[in-house]
Amino acid sequence: MNTINWRRVIQVGLIMGVVVLIASIIGMVQTFDERDMIAGLLTLGQLLLFAPAFYGGFSVAGKDERRAPVPTLLAGLLAGALAAVPVVLLVALAGFWTTIRDYFVNVSPQLIEILTFGRESVSGSLLLLGVMAGLGLLGAAIHLIPQRVRRPFINATMFTLVFSLFSDVPLNIANQFLSRDLVRLVFPSKGITVVAAVVIFALALAVALWWEFSGRARRQQQQATITPEARRRNSLIVMVVSLALLLVLPRILGIFLTNVVAQVGTFVLMALGLNIVVGFAGLLDLGYVAFFAVGAYVTALLTSTGDLGLGVNFWIAMPIGVIAAVLFGIVLGIPVLRLRGDYLAIVTLGFGEIIRVLVRSDLLKPVIGGAQGILDVGRPNFGSFTFVTPEHYYYLILAGCMLALFIAWRLRDGRAGRQWMAVREDEDVAEAVGINLVGTKLLAFAIGAGFAGLAGAIFGSRVGSVFPNSFELLISINVLAIIIVGGVGSLPGVVLGAFVLVGLPELLREFVEFRLLIYGILLIVMMLVRPEGLWPSAVRRRELHAAETDEPSVAAAEGPLHEEVQPLV
């Protein structure tokens, strides 16, 4: 690229500018500004402001290796500056139009202060413009670094940013083992210190460079030629080590993080269940939260020592809760499972909403407590030992997840998994080879319901109470987002997805308000860019990127009759 592609620069710059503008006026920048990353230097809000400018510069510079430096840098500079223009206009507008806040509630003086670095509007705006143009320039300049240095550099930068963003994690771990004073040195009240950031960056860069120059290619080759036996042995070692790690995890993490992981585990359990329904059998269930609710309510009603409860032992109540969820799944499933694809999605959504309304209604209030819910849910115990702390529940949930993971894994590789796959690919043919459609779907539905019921039973006990609020449609959407982001049909993907979508927001409390916005964006972006998810199952990858390969395909040989019956998801 020896001349500047003006059109592209303007296009990218303005798109980034609109992104920055929207992030600002919906209040994201301001909310995220409360999260310090590097104390006194960078907040998450600023990162949100600056990242688009940097990315804009990076993206207009393109991938051509033989480019002239000057036009490249100029393009980056311009794109970065353009990304700043809409917010600069916003600052100016807010200066003239003092009542703007009556219309756009989040265009607050604090926001303007962030945007102008606390200066008065003209010099502040100019500074913002300059910073963002500079970042665009930097983004473009990245391309001028030789590739072997560039990759470690980018990785180290990313690592430093992620470390500082999630500094709560290392902070909590460090608190378990080190003295307070030592910890303070690296982690001030929020974020990490500048010195710590520099040190971490330097260390990360050193490691990345060492990795890059010490024969990366050779290692990759070794990886490729590894024998199946060795691979099996390696994966066994990985499994044993990670299991050992999971067992001692609460000791390492401390109470706060253990609670987070327990929350993630609850969602892993649910997502494993929904994964059987959506991922294996291809049935989109949007009312999944209903089974979670059944498991939680039944267990709570049986164990609660309050007015509504029976005071039954948890270990008896939990299986009953799971069985109730399974039965509920079967009773609901029978009528709806003859429907196909999107109709099924809407009917299950309808059922979920019916449950939500019923749970709150006066009709069922005498039984399940209406909006007040059920209090004093019973806790599991072994003899005189009772489960109380997050750590205790961590082990309970871990056991549940392991069980669910094992069941899902064995079913997938067995006859049931094959039936599900066949039904997902072509219902008519599956039925014609002798598979009972309703029975097969019902099995998926029932097992999925059982996992959710188990998750609900443990959840109610862990939280100590059960309210209608815990069973909103949002939970269904949350679980759906987990399996889509993780990889539909992929077991490790589900676990990863739960950590990303549940664990990270738990760590970043500022996310709460924008959680669903981000889920929405994620659902769209994943479907557009990476429909197979972050950690796809092997089959899924082939299935979803089919159009990109040139291999002879069944689809190409088929008439229009078959086109109507595509694999789901």
Partner: protein
């Protein structure tokens, strides 16, 4: 020989359109029987009626002493009827061997929770099924291709895999819907021979829909001709070739005198 399948007075309507009209039809056990007719004559619709994909509006179909009326496709398949499709319909993203294993469904009995509990019976059944699936792959000439995805196989292999999937359930009656469509003459000849072998070696009764007259005339023992959902002729290949109504249906009124329905196909061994 007893009839394995008897259809009496079968009628299927779609709104005002009568796709199959009061059809009487029988297949003798161990026979190779064909249905031919112009496009839209109701051949595939009749297949769909037998396999339970469509519910018939009138009449009855009896297979091996059991009425098929009102049964769902999976139950009919479990009675011993398997089919292939005009446009190949494999499970495109499952491997060849998984496709065959899916076809074995009518014979598998292990419970779904077998793999979870590690039941020995389940494992034994699964191992036996995989072994048999490998044999079937070899039988249809797909040795060593078991792990490729069905969609990545060449066209001819896909056709053969579909037949293998249909055979996997040990059917007594096999319905083949245009098994040689889209094949070149050499492949067509091979497939014809293959179908004949199926009957001769395994003893499966075969019902065939086919457009290629070489195939039809070459292997059928009995041919039924459909037009607008009605049976217009039935008989041996020689009888059908000489039937003026058949020629009329294919070539239109007036052409009957001049036409000769690929007589050379009978002389030339397929």
């Amino acid at each position: 020989m007893a009839n394995i399948l008897e259809a009496t007075n079968v009628t299927k309507r779609f709104g005002g359109l009568v796709a199959v009209n009061r059809l009487d039809f029988a297949i003798p056990e161990g026979g190779i029987v064909s249905i031919i007719g112009p496009n839209g004559a109701g051949k595939t619709t009749f297949f769909n009626c037998i396999t339970g994909f469509y519910q018939i509006d009138d009449g009855d179909i009896v297979f091996n002493g059991t009425s098929l009326k009102g049964r769902s496709p999976d139950k009919i398949t479990r009675l011993g009827i398997a089919r292939t499709y005009q446009n190949i319909r494999l499970f495109a993203y499952m491997s060849a061997i998984e496709n065959i294993l899916a076809g074995m469904e009518p014979r598998l009995n292990s419970p779904w929770f077998g793999p979870v509990l590690g039941l020995p019976g389940t494992r034994a059944e699964e191992e036996k099924a995989v072994e048999e699936a490998r044999q079937l792959l070899r039988f249809v000439g797909l040795r060593g291709k078991g792990d490729s995805l069905a969609r990545n196989l060449p066209y001819g292999d896909q056709r053969r895999l579909e037949i293998a999937r249909a055979l996997a359930g040990n059917p007594r009656l096999l319905l083949l819907d245009e098994p040689t469509a889209g094949m070149n003459p050499r492949e067509t000849a091979e497939t014809t021979e293959f179908i004949r072998n199926l009957r001769d070696e395994i003893g499966i009764t075969i019902l065939l829909i086919e457009h290629d007259m070489r195939v039809v005339m070459g292997i059928s023992e009995d041919i039924t001709v459909l037009d607008y959902g009605e049976k217009i002729a039935q008989g041996t290949p020689v009888e059908i070739q000489g039937n003026p109504r058949v020629i009329e249906a294919y070539l239109g009124r007036g052409a009957a005198g001049a036409a000769h329905l690929t007589v050379e196909s009978v002389e030339e061994p397929a």
